[in-house]
Structures are given as structure tokens and as C-alpha cells.
């Protein structure tokens, strides 16, 4: 039916028989409804007068070949006929588009999205919570599977963002709220007070040197290094402007100090700076807020937090990095000695339903191989042992990379789970089982244990999701609209996802998704007006004096997941308010029908699925 001859059959039937409705009894409407509706439209019939009876998924595929199945098929068709008789022509909704994109999160995904959109000639507002963009990628040493230096490839992109005429960058800023709808959002952004005047600051660093408070664990170095109260997170930061950590600054805490101010040649220190609130009109949003790794408390059995030499993979990245606290030399945190036995635990927390993280963090297999390999390069006489469950290296050049670690760099891979890490006579002991050897117990003494900690959603991800009205999964990762066919869209139109905020991802995948999201945004921005399917909720109107069966109780308003319910005043000729009704904003409404279910007065109908249509469709079964 969906072939050209099939469509032509429908078209000619419409014309010859002057049809006022069409029911196509075939497969899933999800698949081919647009096809048939287009065919109807081409024959001059409003596309919404075409319905599909899903005989494939709802009948032939799920039942044996019996008469009863045939009867069910007839019922399904008959129900749709009852419905289509009550269909009304619907017309697409036009919504103007503000052609500026908001990108939330300035990691590699956000950077890539912002650049792609900006390079397509559209305006971008990039908001980053930290003082600098760069995200986790800026913390990495080398990257798998090519071992090129992470910062070397990232920094030029960061600089490009800063210099791009189409990109407005707000670092040390957060999105407080998002209102509006696709093409017409308003984002409220809180620019936290940096306590310096960014325009006068030259980034000379005098203030950082002057700051007497220097023993603050550095976030950039995953706690392995230190920073001052006024600080630039890392040398290549963009913007390369310091920020005063007001929680740590002596002046803000005790009212005295201001050493940095006296040393600043540009007189750029602003202790009295206030948070700034910006309301920005945007037409689309890319959410690329990234991820984090599980907290220390997650692994009491591995001694993380208890033993200084049990560290996370992210910390190990910093130990490997030339810009890190050890300038790239592998020295263990406890005594600064070079570890001779390093044990890497893959799946630390991941794929562990008992711990509540049943998913695979995806990146650990690869970075653990990388860590072991880099360690072996830096400490050629050291032993690297990896405990793993199985190796997931399904990327271009990935498996070869892991094989190289095992074969060329002689990393010892033990298939098995580690049950405990404990200290014995000043030495760390990793106790596990070798499942390839029939579950034989293995104990390995280690100088350093590196946990490939599970990648998890950022703290506050749920709250952000609620602020943005996007859905999230049980692990607080943001949900895509369809796991296969709409992987970068959310269920809120005009809001897209990029990077690890949706699920753990490596760099190439994040970049790929970021570009995909950017292309969605650019596509959306290709027209001045947006055409949307009219399958949205509508509050009915009736003849005066009732005007509507809506009683204005606004039970729908709290039910609406998309904030699409507004109020509307019906006024008399004299301007007096006769009635206040609910009104559905056609731009915001996603047609989910939740309001319809809650309305006691049945005053809201979902166009294309009205009460009358649904009722007729169901009642047809009894007819």
C-alpha cells in the first residue's frame, strides 16, 4: 500500500468517489501515516481525514492465523471508520522562530554544538556553570584510541568559541528557568558574580599569586592538586579570567584581606559585584550538561576515601596529564612514590544492579586500557593489572587499542570481579576472583588502585530537567524522544540533547551527537516560521452565554508537563470579564493529552483524537 501504485490507488479513489475520509488498513501509523496522509493531501483531501488501522502490529503479527484474527482485523478497521467519520480537517500551526540557540554546558559536546550552529550563521548563547568551558575533556591526558593529547585538540575549539562572532559565552552562569515553547523560549540566566570586571581583566595572574589562601583542593585536578581562592581553573581556561571563590575567600568570609585587589594592575577586582540576571529569547536549546563519576561513598569495599592510593580514573587522568599536579609523572598520592604495581578495576560501580547502576558506563573499558597502557609507557618496569568483567571495545580502532595494551604493553587482564581492597602490612591488597580460571581467588598487592568509577548523571540533573521540562530516566540521565529514531530530541519540542547528559559517551560519540543536535537546531532555524502538527489540545468553545464548558478550575494547568496551559479572559462588549477560561498555547502543547484526562468538564479535546472520535471508535466495538 505504501508503494507508489498503492498511494495512487488511494489518490484516484479520493478523486473518483469524492471521498471525505480514508482508512488505510495496513501497518503502524508511526511508520507510514505521513506517507498516506501526504497521498491524501496530494489528492486534495485534508491529510487529517486519513486514518490508519494498524493491522500489522495490532493484529496479524501478534495473533495466529485464525478466523478470530480476521474478525479482529475487521473490528479494527470498523473502529477507525467510526472515528474517521468524525474527523475534522486540521491545519498545521505556524509558530514564529527566534533564531538564536541556547547551549547549556560548555564541555566538548556543548562546544561542538555551539560551533556548528554558529558556523551555520545562527546566533548561539553558550552557558557554562564553571568558570571556564572545556568540561571533562580538558581534564583528560591523552585520548583513546589515538593517544593524542586531549588539551591539544580541545584548546583550539575553546578559543574558537571565545572568538566566534556568533557565540555569546556566559561562563560561571546557570540557567534558572526556561519558559515558552519551541521557537520562542525565554531563558533566564543567572551570571554568578565572578568578582572581577571581565572587560578590564587582562588575565595576567597577579591576583592568583597574591592570594594568601592557596590550599583549596582543585576541582580541575579532581582534588589531587590545590588552587587559591581567586583562581583560573587551568592554564588554558576560556575565558582566561580568574574568579573569586567567595566561599573560600578571606575577604568574603572575614571581611579583611583584598590582597588581590592591591596587586591587580588593571584594577579589575570587584568585591561588590552582584549576580546578574539575563532574560534571553531563544528558539532552540541544546542541553549538554555532561556527567560526573560516582561519589567516594559508593565503594566502601574498595577503600576509596579510606586509602589515599585508591583513586578514580579521572584522578589518574590528572596524574598522567602534563598539566596535572605531578606534571605528568605517575606518583601515588600517599607518598609521591612511583607505584610499581597498579591495579585497575573496570566496572567500578557500573553494571551492578545490586548497587543500583545496572548500565554500562561505556567509556571505562577504553580508558582503563589507555590508563594501563600510558602507565606502562611512563613506568616501563611497573606492573599493570586490569580486573574486568568483559571488554567492550566496539568502536573504530577500539579493539585494536585494547589488544595493543594487552599484547604490546603487556598489561595483565584478569577477568573477574574484585570483592575487596584492603590494607595488609602497609600494602594495598586487591582481592578478587579469576573467572576464567574457574573462579579461583586472586589476591594482588598494589601500590595504587585505580577505579573506573561509574559515570553518573550530574547532581541536580533532575532539577535541571524539571526546569527545562524534559524527561529523565531512572538514573537521571535526560531522555531522548525515541531511543532509535529520535536520539537527540527530547520530548519537549525544540530542546535537544548532546553528550553524556543523555547517557555515558566517549568523545567521538559526544561530538557526533553534538553535531546532530546542531543540525536539528539549524534545520529548525532554516525557516522563519515553524510548522507544527495540529494534534494539540484545544479548550472548547460553545455558544454564549456559556462560551465554553471550561469552568476555569485550572486542574489542567498543574497536570500539563509542558506548561502549555494559559488563562484567557472572555470579555463582554463593555470590557467586563465574563469568564476566565483555560487556553492551550498551541506552540507549547505537545498533544500528550494529560489535560484531557483531568478535565472534569471534558472541555479539552485533543485535535485528531477528540472525545467524540475516541468514544465512537471504542463504542464501535459494541455496535
Amino acid at each position: 500500500m505504501c508503494s507508489d501504485p498503492g498511494q495512487n490507488m488511494i489518490k484516484s479513489a479520493i478523486k473518483e468517489k469524492n471521498l471525505t475520509g480514508v482508512v488505510v488498513a495496513a501497518c503502524s501509523p508511526r511508520m507510514h501515516e505521513p506517507t498516506f496522509r501526504r497521498a491524501c493531501a496530494e489528492a486534495g483531501l485534508n491529510p487529517f481525514l486519513c486514518e490508519m488501522a494498524n493491522l500489522r502490529e495490532q493484529c496479524s503479527w501478534v495473533h495466529p492465523r485464525t478466523d478470530a484474527t480476521t474478525e479482529k482485523a475487521i473490528d479494527i478497521v470498523s473502529m477507525l471508520v467510526a472515528k474517521v467519520k468524525r474527523n475534522a480537517p486540521l491545519f498545521p500551526i505556524k509558530v514564529p522562530v527566534t533564531r538564536t540557540a541556547l547551549v547549556i554546558g560548555g564541555g566538548i559536546a556543548g562546544i561542538q554544538s555551539a560551533l556548528d550552529i554558529a558556523n551555520a550563521g545562527r546566533q548561539v548563547v553558550l552557558v557554562e556553570r564553571e568558570p571556564s568551558i572545556g568540561g571533562h575533556m580538558s581534564q583528560l591526558s591523552e585520548t583513546f584510541p589515538t593517544l593524542d593529547c586531549s588539551q591539544c585538540i580541545l584548546t583550539p575549539r575553546m578559543v574558537e568559541v571565545a572568538q566566534h562572532p556568533n557565540i555569546t559565552l556566559h561562563t560561571y552562569a546557570e540557567v534558572e528557568s526556561l519558559s515558552g515553547f519551541i521557537g520562542n523560549f525565554t531563558a533566564r540566566i543567572r551570571k554568578k558574580a565572578r568578582s572581577i570586571d571581565e572587560r578590564s581583566c587582562t588575565g595576567c595572574g597577579e591576583c592568583v599569586t597574591a592570594c594568601p589562601i592557596k590550599k583549596i583542593p582543585s576541582e580541575f585536578n579532581a582534588g589531587l592538586g590545590l588552587r587559591s581562592a581567586i583562581y583560573v581553573p587551568f592554564p588554558q581556561a576560556v575565558p582566561n579570567k580568574p574568579v573569586i571563590d567567595r566561599g573560600r575567600c578571606t575577604y568574603f568570609q572575614k571581611g579583611k584581606c583584598r590582597f588581590c585587589e592591591t596587586k591587580c594592575p588593571a584594577k579589575a577586582i570587584r568585591f561588590d559585584q552582584q549576580d546578574e540576571i539575563l532574560d534571553i529569547a531563544v528558539g532552540a536549546v541544546v542541553v549538554s550538561t555532561g556527567f560526573t563519576v560516582v561519589e567516594t561513598s559508593f565503594f566502601p569495599e574498595y577503600g576509596y576515601g579510606l586509602y589515599k592510593d585508591v583513586i578514580t580514573g579521572l584522578q589518574f587522568e590528572r596524574l598522567l596529564s602534563a598539566s596535572g599536579p605531578t606534571l605528568g609523572e605517575v606518583r601515588r598520592p600517599s607518598d609521591g612514590k612511583t607505584p610499581k604495581n597498579v591495579v585497575f578495576l573496570a566496572c567500578a560501580g557500573s553494571r551492578d544492579p545490586a548497587k543500583g547502576i545496572e548500565y554500562c558506563s561505556k567509556i571505562c573499558c577504553m580508558y582503563t586500557a589507555k590508563h594501563a597502557m600510558l602507565y606502562r609507557h611512563k613506568v616501563p618496569d611497573g606492573d599493570a593489572t586490569v580486573f574486568y568483567m568483559d571488554i567492550r571495545a566496539a568502536g573504530k580502532g577500539y579493539d585494536e587499542f585494547v589488544r595493543r595494551a594487552i599484547e604490546d604493553d603487556e598489561v595483565r587482564y584478569i577477568r573477574g570481579r574484585v570483592s575487596r581492597v584492603f590494607e595488609r602490612q602497609g600494602k594495598l591488597v586487591v582481592k578478587g576472583a579469576d573467572t576464567l580460571l574457574g573462579g579461583q581467588q586472586v589476591e594482588i598487592e598494589a601500590d595504587l588502585v585505580v577505579l573506573a568509577s561509574a559515570a553518573v548523571a550530574n547532581p541536580g540533573a533532575e532539577e535541571l530537567a524539571q526546569r527545562l521540562h524534559v524527561s529523565y530516566d531512572g538514573h537521571s540521565f535526560f531522555s531522548e524522544a525515541h531511543p532509535k529514531l529520535r536520539p537527540v530530541e527530547t520530548n519537549s519540542a525544540g530542546i535537544f540533547l548532546a553528550g553524556a547528559c543523555q547517557a555515558p559517551k566517549d568523545i567521538p560519540e559526544s561530538v557526533g551527537q553534538a553535531s546532530a543536535a546542531a543540525s536539528k537546531v539549524v534545520g529548525l532555524f532554516s525557516c522563519e516560521e515553524l510548522t507544527r502538527e495540529p494534534v494539540i489540545a484545544v479548550v472548547n468553545r460553545t455558544a454564549p452565554p456559556a462560551y465554553s464548558t471550561c469552568a476555569g478550575c485550572f486542574m489542567c494547568r498543574s497536570a500539563c508537563p509542558f506548561n502549555a496551559i494559559e488563562s484567557e479572559e472572555i470579555k463582554g462588549r463593555d470590557g467586563q470579564i465574563l469568564k476566565t477560561l483555560a487556553r492551550v498555547n498551541p506552540g507549547l502543547c505537545q498533544g500528550c493529552g494529560t489535560c484531557v484526562a483531568f478535565c472534569r468538564s471534558k472541555a479539552i479535546d485533543l485535535q485528531g483524537f477528540t472525545h467524540e472520535q475516541m468514544y465512537a471508535q471504542v463504542m464501535d466495538l459494541f455496535a
Binding site: 460553545t542 455558544a543 456559556a546 463504542m619 455496535a623
Partner: protein, 345 residues
């Protein structure tokens, strides 16, 4: 026929009623449920309430039930099978314990439905209904039957009228052939008697003087402002209409699917806001003021103009049922005075 008289003991009355149920006729009589009394299908005469209290509902449902199946239909292949003989199987029923006002109302109701194009449903039911009424020995403050064309010992509309005449004994008037027919089976349970003066056993009903000439006054009172204040506390429910023995407004609705179902007639009330609402949104009676006026005008002006009697027998049920204490006696008195005042020069 001439009226027959007799005397019947309470014991024998119960025997007679038991005999009726045993003989296969359906017996309806007052039965107490909670604090209220309703006409119910009785199978055990001990359940009959000889309460002086009037029933909450009138007995009109025995002629004009809450729901009447006017016809039923079922698809039969390509054609439609319609069964319109719903009234054919109506059984003979005996209604016992109606008060005289109710019996008068049943007669007026039947006359109304017979007027013009006759309603076969009400007609058949009336034909099959034997009414055995009990005179009223007490009246309450809401009663005004004597001013509404009836009285506590009025036999109009009854087939048999019983008047408790003291000592567990009833004076019996057999008023119709139908009444005699029923009694014929139970010879021996009652004694022939001569016409007795029962007036001493009857309730004294407070007269409602305003009702005399009220209809005539109403004729010119459509545009009066009295209605507004009078109707202000009316909640617009249908309680008064549904307990009224003479309210006969109804709705016709289909139930079922286009393949199988029934066309039903259900009680309706002119007090409901949707009663006269047009699809266009236009409503000739937009507020309760107009609707209350319609109820009063219809009963006391329009009905008398058409049928020579009011659409009210003064049973007082509406006054007892109204959740907002729209007392009809009081309303009539007040409206009468209000209209008179307004039309005074």
C-alpha cells in the same frame, strides 16, 4: 355505577391485601425505608407502612415511571428490528395506601396524557391500575388539598376509598367497577354497610385562601418582579418536580448503540437550566427566576386554562422535599400578595 359501602377490619384489610398478592396481582403500597416512606412493590403485607406520613415520592411512577422504554431496536442484518409494543405486557396492579390527593393527581395525570394524541403507555397503565386509597386522618402544615380541589376524604380517582373510623376499622367506599371487581374475590372479608358520615375521622387541613383567584392573578403577572426574590434561594434541582404527583415533563433519549438499544422516556424538570436550552446557546429561560416562574405559572395558570384544574393537588411533597425550603404554600401566599401589591394602582 353507584357507590358501594362497606366496613372492613384492619386484620381483614391485611388479609385482603395478602390475597391480592397471592392472586398474582402486583401490589404497591407505602413502605418505610429509614425515616422516609416510599411506594414499593410489596410481597409481604407486614411491610406496609400505615404511617400517617405522606410518602416522599408520589405514586405517579405507577402511571409515568421514571424510565419508560418507548421502543427497542436491534439490527437484524441490513434492516432494523423495532419493538414498539412495550406497553402490551403491563400487568394489573393494585396500588394501596394512596392518599386522596394522590388519587386525584393520578386521575389528572392520566387525563393530561390522554389529551390530544393519547399516550398509550400512561393509558395502559391507568387501565390496569386499581387504586385503593386511605383517607387522611392527619394533615401537616404543608398540606393544602382542600384549597386545591381535593380533600382528605375525596374519592376522586380512587377505586376504593377507606376511612379509618376508629377501633382498627375502616369505612369502605367502592367507587368503581374495577374496585368492585377486585373486592368480589374477597367476599367475607368485609361487611356491606350503608353510607356513613366519615367527616369526623378526617384531617383538618389548613386552608390556603391565596389559592382562590391565584390563577387569574398570575395571568397578568408574567412580567412582575415578584419572581426574582421568590426564586432567589431556589437551587435549580428537580426534587420538587420529581416528588410532585402531577409534574409530567420528560425527556426522550436513546440508549445503547446504533445496532441495539432502546428509546427511553425519562423524567425531566422545567427547573433544570438545560431544559429549554437551544443548541444555539439561546435559552428562553436563562435563570432560575424564569424557571421558577414557569413552574408556578404552569401549575396555577396554564394548566387551569387548558384543563380546568391546577397542576397541583396540594399534597405538599415539594415543600417537604425542597432543600432550600421553597415552601409552596408560603410561595403562593407571598406571590399572591406581591402581585396584588404590584398591580395595585
Amino acid at each position: 355505577m353507584s357507590t358501594h359501602h362497606g366496613v372492613l377490619s384492619h386484620q381483614n384489610l391485611l388479609k385482603l391485601l395478602s390475597g391480592i398478592t397471592a392472586g398474582g396481582m402486583e401490589l404497591y403500597a407505602p413502605r418505610k425505608t429509614g425515616q422516609k416512606v416510599f411506594f414499593d412493590h410489596i410481597t409481604d403485607v407486614r411491610e406496609i407502612a400505615f404511617d400517617p406520613l405522606p410518602t416522599t415520592e408520589s405514586p405517579k411512577a405507577l402511571l409515568f415511571p421514571r424510565v419508560e422504554r418507548l421502543l427497542s431496536f436491534a439490527r437484524d442484518g441490513e434492516s432494523m428490528r423495532v419493538d414498539d409494543r412495550c406497553a402490551d405486557l403491563m400487568p394489573r396492579r393494585v396500588l394501596f395506601g394512596t392518599r386522596p390527593c394522590d388519587a386525584v393527581a393520578l386521575q389528572r395525570l392520566a387525563e393530561f396524557f390522554a389529551d390530544g394524541i393519547e399516550d398509550m403507555f400512561v393509558g395502559k397503565r391507568r387501565e390496569q391500575l386499581v387504586v385503593i386509597s386511605l383517607s387522611c386522618a392527619v394533615a401537616d402544615a404543608d398540606c393544602f388539598c382542600t384549597s386545591a380541589g381535593s380533600g382528605p376524604g375525596d374519592g376522586t380517582g380512587s377505586d376504593i376509598l377507606l376511612t379509618a373510623s376508629g377501633g382498627e376499622r375502616y369505612d369502605m367506599e367502592v367507587l368503581t367497577d374495577r374496585g368492585r371487581e377486585v373486592l368480589a374475590t374477597f367476599a367475607g372479608l368485609w361487611d356491606e354497610g350503608s353510607p356513613a358520615d366519615t367527616s369526623g375521622y378526617l384531617a383538618v387541613v389548613e386552608p390556603l385562601p391565596a389559592l382562590a383567584g391565584f390563577g387569574a392573578k398570575l395571568a397578568g403577572a408574567f412580567a412582575s418582579t415578584v419572581w426574582k426574590d421568590a426564586s432567589l434561594r431556589c437551587l435549580g434541582c428537580g426534587a420538587c418536580a420529581y416528588v410532585c404527583p402531577l409534574c409530567s415533563c420528560f425527556d426522550i433519549e436513546d440508549e445503547g448503540t446504533p445496532s441495539k438499544g432502546s428509546r427511553l422516556r425519562c423524567w425531566d424538570s422545567c427547573g433544570f437550566s438545560l431544559f429549554t436550552l437551544h443548541t444555539s446557546g439561546h435559552n428562553p429561560r436563562p435563570t432560575q427566576t424564569e424557571r421558577w416562574r414557569q413552574r408556578v405559572m404552569h401549575k396555577f395558570s396554564y394548566m387551569p386554562a387548558r384543563f380546568g384544574h391546577a397542576g397541583c393537588v396540594g399534597c405538599g411533597r415539594c415543600s417537604r422535599a425542597c432543600p432550600a425550603d421553597m415552601n409552596l404554600r408560603e410561595q403562593i401566599t407571598m406571590l399572591d400578595a406581591g402581585i396584588a401589591l404590584q398591580s395595585a394602582p
